[in-house]
Amino acid sequence: MKRIINKATILTVIFIAFGLVSNAQLSKKRKAQKDTKAWRYEIECVGIGKAGTKVIKVWSYSKKAKVAVAQAKKNAVHGIMFQGYTGGGQGCTSQRPLINDPSIEQQKEEFFDNFFNINGGKYMKFVSHSSDATPTVMKVGKEYKIGIVVTVMTNLLRKDLEKAGVVKGLSSGF
């Protein structure tokens, strides 16, 4: 009887621990989602990647360093879509955003809500960052500004947006 009680106690403790961990992860994701809503970030070009990709450094802001890291990829894809970047060193030339009309974000709100959903949004398919790359961490006032180098697959992203009817292809209408 005692053994059964012990087993039950251990199982309960495991379940509670698991619940707390997943709740913490969920909370981190929620925090990242909340912080990303304001789209506070800066992007800069750090080099010419392979054809069809862009290598950029994205600076994200958050009170928690881990949250800023989590939202970096989202910000990078959003930046390529809506901001573009100016030129810089390493042979970088200025880059237009993939979407010329910023009001599209409001017009197709549902599409972008799904696209940038932190729980498996499609944006994850178009961005990668090396786990070896060390983020640049800066403390600005009460929050962190964290820079991470990521690669955005711009060709695939553009094709996906064309397919979804968000942007027009070069040959559309002909």
Binding site: G47, I48, G49, K50, A51, G52, G87, G89, Q90, G91, C92, T93, S94, Q95, R96, N100, T154, N155, K168, G169, L170, S171, G173, F174
Partner: protein, 318 residues
């Protein structure tokens, strides 16, 4: 009922496929005169005492491997965007083989040759609606090497630059020229296609921009100052009124007007005519041609075209 529905759907689909698309411009990558001159690919002619230099594209394409690499890279990236380009080397080869075939061809019954007037001969050149002109220069500072790359999209009819991208790449100690060139194309192609896309969007919104010329045969007894109608309007003014009525939002500029010729630039025409068919400069000017042939003008005329964006009416006969 179901059959009728299917038939109607098929009919509508067919109509959309047949008439729903604007005339697609052709694009071709061409090295600039500056590049040809710097790399020794120019031909020199003596034109009555004046030395004239023209680019020797055939020689450049046969001898310069870097040029092939750049053209092929641009062609690849444009094809990937659903807009395959005309290949200049193939266009030149086709022209040569067509000319050889035409010279050998004769009618089986009469032995007659293929008719060709001097204008036909002049028109036998590699052409496209939009020329992608490119230039690159290799900059050297000590052991370091960088590439300045310029891409210009030029409308063959209006002579306007409708797209462009340019810049200088990062200096490198070790990279070979072809690697730097490939990197330059990769760095600039997105901006180039972005500005080309903006041009197409403007075209869909405000119409295609064309050039219309009016000329007169020297044996015609009328001219553009001849007066017609109850108001005694001059023919030049009548043509301007027709353009104002038939262009998108009445947009055109009268660049030149004499008694023997008129030049209209920035003429914006609808991409589709009243029948829903795709429209180019020739189809648009045919409307003016018919208008002038009918009462009260009764002016016989000839329409001459040049690609999608330039057409000329010669008044006074065919």
């Amino acid at each position: 009922m179901k059959k009728t529905f299917i038939a109607l759907t098929l009919l509508l689909t067919g109509f959309t496929l047949a008439f729903g698309q604007a005339k697609k411009p052709t694009l071709m990558v061409v090295p600039s005169d500056v590049w040809c001159s710097k790399n020794g690919y120019m031909m020199e002619f003596d034109n009555q005492g004046t030395k004239i230099k023209i680019p020797d594209y055939k020689k450049a394409l046969q001898e310069d491997a870097d040029l092939l690499l750049v053209i092929s890279s641009i062609n690849d990236m444009m094809a990937e965007r659903g807009f395959p380009l005309k290949n200049m080397e193939s266009a030149l080869k086709t022209l040569a083989s067509n000319a050889a075939e035409d010279n050998m061809r004769s009618s089986k019954e009469t032995g007659a040759s293929v008719a060709e007037n001097p204008i036909d001969m002049l028109k036998k050149v590699a052409k496209a609606d939009i020329i992608i002109q490119m230039t690159w220069t290799i900059n050297k500072t000590g052991p370091k090497k960088s590439i300045t790359f310029v891409l210009q999209g030029l409308d063959a009819y209006t002579d306007k630059q409708i797209a462009g991208a340019n810049g200088t790449g990062a200096p490198s100690f070790s990279a070979e020229t072809p690697v730097l060139l490939k990197e330059a194309v990769t760095a600039h192609i997105d901006n180039f296609t972005g500005s080309l896309q903006a041009h197409f969007e403007d075209m869909f919104a405000n119409g295609r921009e064309i050039i219309v010329r009016i000329q007169t045969w020297d044996d015609w007894d009328g001219d553009l100052e001849s007066e017609y109608g109850d108001d005694d309007d001059e023919l030049g003014t009548i043509i301007e009124d027709w353009l104002a009525d038939n262009t998108v939002k009445g947009r055109f500029s009268t660049t030149d007007m004499t008694e023997t010729m008129a030049l209209f630039e920035q003429v914006r025409i609808d991409l589709y005519n009243a029948k829903g068919r795709a429209q180019d400069a020739r189809r648009f000017v045919k409307g003016l041609s018919k208008y002038l042939k009918n009462e009260p003008f009764l002016i016989p005329n000839k329409v001459v075209m040049k690609g999608l964006g330039r057409a000329t009416i010669i008044l006074g006969g065919k």
